[in-house]
């Protein structure tokens, strides 16, 4: 742990060394903690109890390790994204190689956010790492698979977006009729299959 940072009188932010440590810390059950929110490198802990921060500090010093996560989702994708050709050009790959690279990796949900049901997936092969688009699109349709930086993810609903669009899935990421409504939770494993 690099630091425990203040977040007002009812919360604090634990900086972790890795996403694995974030998930390990998120699995702790600490008295007086009402909610934890995993980030990419941090865990936001809601608690008014000063002892809770000390518990996280000592758990981290002892080296917190995540439990094994069994949940794996396979998401079927039509790789027809508007930016597929641009991504191929920028990465010096063919379109088929971009698709093979993207479907060949296993991803983990690092965190959820942006809009409900949006899961930031880590594990994108380095050759597909690209900065976000210079100008975000005002509107990206629901079900769009995209990449940016070290991340890949699926837009759960129509929203603005600055990521590179690779394809489309009909699997709903967010469905209020489902329990839980989000398809993916932090720690889940995900692979994509081209159809």
């Amino acid at each position: 742990v690099r630091a425990i940072r203040p977040y007002g009188p009812t919360a604090f932010l634990v900086e972790a060394e890795s996403i694995d440590e974030v998930h390990a810390l998120a699995q702790l059950r600490v008295p007086g903690v009402t909610q934890v929110v995993p980030g990419a490198r941090t865990l936001l802990v809601e608690s008014s109890d000063p002892a809770a921060a000390e518990t996280y500090r000592s758990c981290v010093l002892q080296g917190a390790r995540p439990l094994v996560q069994d949940t794996t989702s396979v998401i079927e994708v039509i790789y027809d994204g508007e930016d597929l050709a641009d991504v191929a050009r920028a990465t010096n790959l063919s379109v088929d190689q971009v698709i093979a690279t993207h479907t060949g990796a296993e991803y983990r949900v690092a965190l959820c956010g942006f809009t409900p049901g949006f899961a930031y997936l880590t594990g994108l092969p380095a050759k597909l790492h690209l900065p976000r688009r210079a100008t975000p699109r005002e509107s990206v349709p629901a079900g769009t698979l995209a990449i940016a930086g070290e991340w890949t993810g699926v837009y759960p609903r129509r929203s603005p977006g600055g990521w590179h669009l690779l394809g489309t899935t009909s699997t709903p990421m967010w469905d209020l009729e489902r329990d839980p409504p989000a398809l993916l939770s932090p720690g889940d494993r995900v692979t994509f299959r081209a159809i």
Binding site: P6, V37, G113, T115, S185
Partner: protein, 268 residues
């Protein structure tokens, strides 16, 4: 049971919100001014966390379809329990202070309970704004005696002062950037966040921040340098530095400050 005659600018069912569901990507939601919502509920004898109607400014009009008792808070006037006979109507109206009014009905407003709360969350797509013709049901919460209560103080025309704690990324911007000048609430504010306008805040650390957790009251600085104070329909994570956190008791004042009016921050 009441019928919506006019829904006003925006009327939502809100209770105390959802707790402990951020890992599902769902924020807290709930009344933006919990003290005013609690006052309206207290006046009709409801528990403080019963669902009530949150409405922007004036104009919400309801007609009683059966005898019931209502109270309105967030207007700057005492909160008085008011019995309604069948066919009688009530219109929310208040003074020049405040932005969000609360109408409670004895027994609590009914709506579908989702993840432990009846609150509408516009960001998550849970529930929807009321429309003219909608019927507002009564939940049947356990009640105590109704009584007139004081309305919690509202920000005035000269603006309001709120206490702010240093945020986790306070060192990413100029020190004291929030407290050195006054900020104007912009019209693009909503239940997600109150967008402020003023002297832009310069970043001292310009690295890209990996996304991290947000809470109601978090003050985030996007690239424009114009801060956003997150309210209750906030996204659960964000990728810009949080440089301050509004005191939980003062966040209602931020939510009640009208666009065009001023907010000043002071160290908590």
């Amino acid at each position: 049971v009441l019928r919506v005659i006019s829904a006003g600018a925006l009327t939502l069912v809100e209770d105390a919100g959802r707790f402990g569901v951020a890992h599902l990507g769902v924020g807290r939601s709930g009344a933006a001014d919990s003290a005013a919502s609690a006052a309206a509920n207290a006046a009709v004898g409801n528990p403080a966390n019963a669902a009530a109607l949150e409405t922007l400014l004036d104009g919400l009009t309801l007609a009683a379809l059966q005898p019931c008792m209502v109270a309105i808070a967030g207007t700057g006037s005492p909160v008085v329990p008011t019995p309604l006979e069948v066919g009688q109507s009530v219109t929310v109206a208040g003074g020049e202070s405040g932005l969000r009014r609360y109408l409670a009905v004895r027994g609590g407003v009914d709506a579908a309970v989702f993840l432990g709360s009846r609150s509408t969350d516009l960001l998550a797509g849970i529930g929807a704004p009321l429309q003219a013709g909608d019927v507002v049901g009564i939940a049947g919460e356990e009640t105590t005696f109704p009584e007139t209560v004081a309305d919690p103080p509202l920000p005035g025309a000269n603006g309001t002062t709120v206490r702010v704690y240093p945020g986790p990324r306070a060192d990413w911007c100029e020190p004291d950037a929030l407290v050195v000048s006054a900020w104007t609430v912009t019209a693009s504010s909503d239940r997600t966040g109150v967008r402020l306008e003023g002297a832009p805040i310069a970043r001292t650390i310009t690295d890209e921040l990996p996304p991290e957790g947000l809470l109601p009251g978090a003050v985030q600085v996007p690239p424009s340098g114009q801060p956003i104070v997150f309210l209750y329909d906030h996204p659960v994570t964000g990728g810009y530095p949080v440089i301050g956190v509004v005191h939980p008791d003062d966040l209602r004042l931020v939510a009640q400050t009208r666009p065009g009016r001023t907010i000043r921050f002071v160290p908590a």
